[in-house]
Symmetry: C2
Subunit: 354 residues, 2 copies
């Protein structure tokens, strides 16, 4: 069905008519000039936002729309968790070009709803409009936390332990794999001399077999925000002194924490958590796996620091690894390699403006 058949209000109605409200703090959702929220007394409100553009942040040739919706929500929820907070609501703004049907947008929205249900988050509003080219998605997430629990980037102190959840570099390797298969597919299409389908109206046209690398694809296409880590930290009574989610790459995020906390750090290469598939794919592609883990980005794992006194407690946490410690600023930001050599950490993460 053409989106213009429904019009703006018809499309909004169709997308939002079965939205459930899960949070008692959501007083009014979609359908007025604003959503109305009422934070629990004593808590503080967290707000984060993100703008994703087709061709820059995602390639619809290999990203299914449902996955895209899921991921677009997850990356925002991840920012709320990265403050040690709990997400409660999101708003969703979409700009769509004529190549998209109503069913396409419903798929996108289905992915968003799935992510929200999983994290008990309410969709409370947004904007739906058109675009001349491609798809734009802007999501704002609102969360809450007790003032004393909020973990900023500027709280890391000398001797604090540096911790990372999950493993790093898998999402980046998943992207490399998708890009490689896309190139193979396009060259075949080219050779077969058929009309090329590599144009802007292409949505999900190829479905190669990725068996053996499902985990890498899942990390790239369907990342999970680490609510479980936030809950585990709370249960273990651990308050991170600083925290960020890893979206641009471990190096880049660690440098942010160091510069905002005015500290240095020492990180051990052999402590950086890697999945087997990440290592195997890096070897297959002749890439340095540590570089991928340091700079790959889109991991949406949590990077945080805890006081040295929490060493035992943090070592008991499942899926969390201590990768180094915080030092005096004058000692710099150092990576200690497997052979004992030391390098200055540099941010080579993804820069959307280059």
């Amino acid at each position: 069905m053409e989106i213009s058949e429904l019009g703006e209000f018809g499309l909004i109605r169709r997308l939002t008519e079965c939205l459930k409200i899960e949070n008692p703090t959501t007083l009014k959702g979609v359908g007025d000039d604003c959503a109305v929220l009422s934070p629990t007394e004593g808590t503080q409100t967290l707000v984060t936002t993100d703008l994703l553009m087709e061709g820059v942040h995602f390639d619809l040739m290999y990203v299914p729309l449902k996955h895209l919706g899921y991921k677009a929500v997850m990356v925002n929820l991840s920012d709320i968790y990265a403050m040690n907070g709990i997400p409660r609501q999101i708003t969703v703004s979409l700009a769509v070009s004529k190549k998209f049907t109503v069913e396409d947008i419903e798929q996108l929205y289905d992915g968003m709803k799935l992510a929200c249900e999983k994290h008990h988050v309410d969709i409370v509003g947004g904007d739906t409009t058109s675009s001349l080219t491609g798809l734009a998605i802007s999501i704002t997430a609102i969360g809450e936390a007790l003032p004393a629990d909020i973990a900023y980037r500027n709280g890391a102190k000398e001797t604090d332990l540096i911790c990372v959840s999950g493993n790093l570099g898998a999402s980046y390797m998943g992207l490399q794999l998708l890009e490689r298969e896309k190139a193979v597919y396009l060259s075949q299409v080219d050779k077969s001399d058929e009309k090329t389908t590599n144009n802007s109206s292409t949505i999900n046209i190829f479905q190669p077999d990725f068996s053996g690398y499902e985990y890498l694809l899942e990390r790239q296409l369907k990342p999970e925000a680490r609510r479980d880590i936030i809950e585990a930290l709370a249960k273990a009574n651990i308050r991170p002194t600083s925290m960020m989610d890893i979206s641009d790459g471990l190096s880049s995020e660690l440098l942010h924490i160091c510069s905002q906390s005015q500290v240095g750090c020492r990180v051990y290469e052999d402590r950086i958590p890697l999945d087997y598939q990440t290592a195997a794919m890096a070897e297959e592609m002749n890439l340095n796996v540590t570089t991928c883990a340091l700079n790959g980005g889109e991991d949406y794992e949590l990077l945080f620091t805890v006081p040295l006194s929490q060493n035992d407690a943090v070592n008991k946490l499942e899926d969390v690894r201590v990768i180094g410690y915080i030092t005096n600023e004058s000692l710099g930001k150092v990576l200690i390699c497997r052979d004992g050599s030391e390098f200055e950490l540099k941010a080579q993460g993804w820069n959307p403006l280059q």
Copy 2:
């Protein structure tokens, strides 16, 4: 300066380094995963968001970037006022293509800052990224209100008076004027056989003389969200039973209030407030001025209903006019023309998806 010279973090730093925080409820602004807000106890939080796409919502051939920034903020603040709330914070997400320089984005941001300063609003975060084509702007505004003060769309009751602030149709006439001058300019460029500049890299290339119609242009390019009306209502102790801002046109908004409140309405053509310049330009362009006022949109005036008992109080308000009253749903939504004839109100406002 090319934006890529600064990079994402460089650009963010440059745009945000002199942001002042005005609201004590803004605990942390730009610079972490989330902003941290702490609503005043007893109030509720309002959230609204908007996504503006180049070529759909604005034409950089005649919209100066500073004005665009100003307007992009105003339309969101207008939504907070339309709930009878006070805006406190915004987040700003931008996607920019390579045709924009750092100075361009600074101009855009200057307009945003000006709007924020005027309304005592803090910029507390956002996202800055690239786009393949054109500019996308997504703004989320956060406000607060006392629970009993919030004006939803569904509260209009039979016999309530329908009120409108300011005057209608001026912004639409301003747009018509800009479009006409653009067409004239382009045909001249065409005729002079120079290389045409009508391409996507065009920003603000023509500056025709609009003397006599400054007001129309100001309404289109630099609309003002009606904080003054909200303050006047509070001062006069008037609580609107329903309220919306007029962004898609009076007809469209009135139909929203009627359908959500399950009521009908009677609106008098001769009561619809018009500015002299709007009427003059409509005549010059051979347009029906009432149609422009009903369906033009982008007025960002407030449409609200008050109990009949508030008739005297509302008539004393400056720049507010009663244009009709609410009826039983069975009586329909009716426009009474100057000659006494009656028509059903229809939404012919701007539809971004057609």
